[in-house]
Symmetry: C2
Subunit: 344 residues, 2 copies
C-alpha cells in the first residue's frame, strides 16, 4: 500500500478562493460574503487531477489537507479565520466522503497573528471527532513571514499540543503564504520554516513534556538532511542528545524533494523509521523535468530507484511509518478496503 502523507486541495473550485478574497476585503468594510455553494459534481471534477496522478504513479491514498498557501493566517481575524478553516475543512471532508479509498483528511487550523493556539482546539476536535480527520497542519509563523509568534517549543503552544496528544493525531509543520517580500513562498518561506522548526526541536525540551507528540516536517525537512553533519555537530557542541535519539518517536520528514540526488541523501542520513512518503501533489512544482521526462514531484520514482533500500524499508516509507505517525488512518483504510471475499 502506498500512502502519500502530503497532498493539498490546490485544485478546489475557484469560488472558494473568491469567497476568501471577498471575506478579507469585507473585514475592513464590516460586511461578509455568503458562503460558496459547491456541488458534489464540482468536487468530483476538482479532484480529477489528484486521482489521475494517483493512478499514474501508483499511489493508493493521499493524506489530504486544504491548500497551504491559502490558509493566510495573517490575513483574517479570529472569526474570519475560524469561518475560513471550517469551510476548507468541510470541503476536505466532502472529498474524503466521496472518495473514501483515495483520501483521508488533515485539517487547517484557525490560527491568527495575535491569537492563542488554544483557540484552535475546537476546530481540531471537530475535525477529528466529527469528520474523521487524522491530523492537522500547524503554522509555525501565522504572521506570514514576519515570525512574530513564539517558537514551537514555547508554552504558548502547549494547550494545543495537549489536545493533539489526547486525540493521538500529529501535526505537519506547514507555513502558508508570505507577506514579507524577502520570502518567496514555495522557494524560501516553506523551506526556511522546516529548517527553523527542526532547530527549535533540537534546542528545546518539547518532547520531554510531550513524549507522544508527533511532528511531520515537510519538504524533506528543509535544509536539515543536507546539513545533517552540521546538526549532529551542533547537537554535540550543545550537549544535546544525538539526533537519531532526539527525533526517534517525535519528528518525521516527508519525501517532497524533487530530484534523485536529494532523495538519495535523505534516505542515506535520516533513519528510515523517520521518513514518510509524500509528494505535495498537486503542488509547488507542476512541470516535467526535462532531464528525466517525468514530473518533478513524482517522488515515488526517486525512492524506487534507491538501490540500497530493501523491501521492508520501502514498506515503512510508503505505508507503515504513516500508520505509526497517523494511527487514526488504519481503521479508515480497513473501512475503505473491499470486503474480504468469502472462501470458495
Amino acid at each position: 500500500m502506498i500512502i502519500d502523507c502530503h497532498g493539498h486541495y490546490t485544485t478546489v473550485a475557484k469560488e472558494v478562493q473568491a469567497f476568501r478574497d471577498a471575506q478579507i476585503v469585507g473585514l475592513s468594510r464590516g460586511d461578509s460574503p455568503k458562503l460558496p455553494q459547491i456541488s458534489d459534481d464540482q468536487i468530483r471534477e476538482s479532484v480529477q487531477p489528484q486521482l489521475a496522478f494517483q493512478a499514474a504513479r501508483g499511489t493508493d491514498l493521499t493524506i489530504f489537507s486544504p491548500r497551504a498557501s491559502s490558509m493566510g493566517h495573517h490575513l483574517g481575524d479570529a472569526a474570519a479565520n475560524q469561518q475560513w478553516a471550517r469551510l476548507c475543512n468541510d470541503l476536505i471532508h466532502r472529498v474524503c466522503t466521496l472518495f473514501p479509498k483515495q483520501f483521508v483528511g488533515v485539517c487547517q487550523l484557525p490560527q491568527t497573528v495575535s491569537g492563542s493556539p488554544a483557540e484552535c482546539i475546537g476546530e481540531v476536535e471537530r475535525c477529528v471527532k466529527e469528520l474523521g480527520f487524522i491530523g492537522c497542519n500547524l503554522n509555525p509563523d501565522p504572521s506570514g513571514g514576519h515570525w512574530a509568534s513564539p517558537p514551537l517549543t514555547d508554552r504558548a503552544w502547549y494547550p494545543l499540543y495537549e489536545k493533539l496528544v489526547e486525540l493521538d493525531v500529529p501535526a505537519m509543520v506547514h507555513v502558508s503564504a508570505s507577506c514579507n517580500p524577502n520570502f518567496h513562498a514555495t522557494g524560501a518561506h516553506y523551506l526556511n520554516a522546516d529548517t527553523t522548526a527542526f532547530m527549535q526541536f533540537l534546542t528545546g525540551d518539547l518532547f520531554k513534556d510531550f513524549p507522544t507528540l508527533r511532528m511531520v516536517i515537510p519538504h524533506g525537512g528543509g535544509a536539515v538532511p543536507y546539513h545533517w553533519g552540521r546538526y549532529r555537530g551542533l547537537a554535540q557542541d550543545m550537549k544535546r542528545p544525538p539526533l537519531t535519539d532526539l527525533i526517534r518517536d517525535n519528528v518525521f520528514f516527508d519525501t517532497c524533494v524533487y530530484h534523485y540526488p536529494g532523495i538519495e541523501l535523505l534516505l542515506k542520513v535520516v533513519p528510515i523509521d523517520n521518513v514518510l512518503f509524500g509528494s505535495e501533489t498537486v503542488g509547488a512544482v507542476r512541470g516535467i523535468d526535462p532531464e528525466t521526462g517525468h514530473y518533478f514531484d513524482d517522488t515515488k520514482r526517486y525512492i524506487d530507484q534507491v538501490p540500497s533500500l530493501n523491501a521492508d524499508e520501502k514498506r515503512k516509507i510508503f505505508e507503515l511509518n504513516a500508520r505509526k505517525v497517523y494511527p487514526r488512518i488504519s481503521p479508515l483504510i480497513d473501512r475503505a478496503a473491499p470486503a474480504p471475499q468469502p472462501a470458495v
Copy 2:
C-alpha cells in the same frame, strides 16, 4: 594551492567584544568606551588556532573576515556600527599584515536596520583601496531575524552594488546573529538567509543590471542544492532561465557542509565552476565527528573523498574559482609567494 574562502576571526581577543558590548550599552546612556588596544602579540596568539588548522588540513590561504555573529547590525546606530566595522576590519588588516601568506581580508559592512546600503560605500572603498581587502560580507537582513529590509534584488541596494562592481570585489551573503527567538543563528538563521537570497536571485533580474556582480552564498547554499530539483522546477514554471545559466557568472556556493553525503550532493548537482572551497573554520561547529574521528568542519577531507572529481575540477574548487570570484587575490598571492630561486 588551497584557498579557503570562508574564515571568520572568531578567536579575536576578548577585549574586542567587550568594547562592542560597552559601546551598545553606552548608546542608551550617551557615553562611549575607549577603543581597545590590541598588541601584535595578542593578534599573533589569537590566530594560532586558525594557523594550526591550516597546517593540519593543508590549507594555504584563508579569505578572512570579522566574526559574522558579532556584526550585530541590529544593535547599533550608524555611527556605532561604522566605528565597530572599522575596528573589526582594522584587526583583520593587522592579521593579514602579520601573516600575509596565510590570510587575505574581507570586510564587514557598517549596515544598520534603517540606514541605506549606500552608507557602506565609504568603508568598503577604504578596505579595498587602503587595506588591500578583496571582498565584503553583505548582510541581507540587518534587522537580525525580522527581515525588515527590501530583498537583495531591490534598487535600494544598487548604489552599493555599483561600488562593488567598480572595485571588482564580490560579496558573501552572510547574516549575523538573530534577535528573533524563532531563529537559532547558526542552526536556522544562517541557512535560511542562504536559501532566501538564492530565491531572490532566481526571481529577480539583478544580474541583468549588474552582469559582473558576484555573490557567494555560504554554508553550501543553505537548502538550495538539496532542493535543486525544486529550484529547477520553479525556474521552469516561472519561465526563468535554467539555473546553470542563471548562476553562471554571478552566484557561487561555498563547501561549508559538514558531512560527506552533503558535499557529495553539492558537487553532483551544482556546476563545479560555481563551487568554492570553504570551511567556516573556526566556526559554527567545533567538535569532532564520532562517526569519522575528524572535525566536522574539515570540509577538505570530504571533497578529497569524492571519487568522481578529477584533478582539474579539484583545482577549480580549491583555487581557480576563488581567483575568478575574488580577482584581487591573485596579486596578493604572488606578492606573498617566496621569490623565485635564481637558476644555479
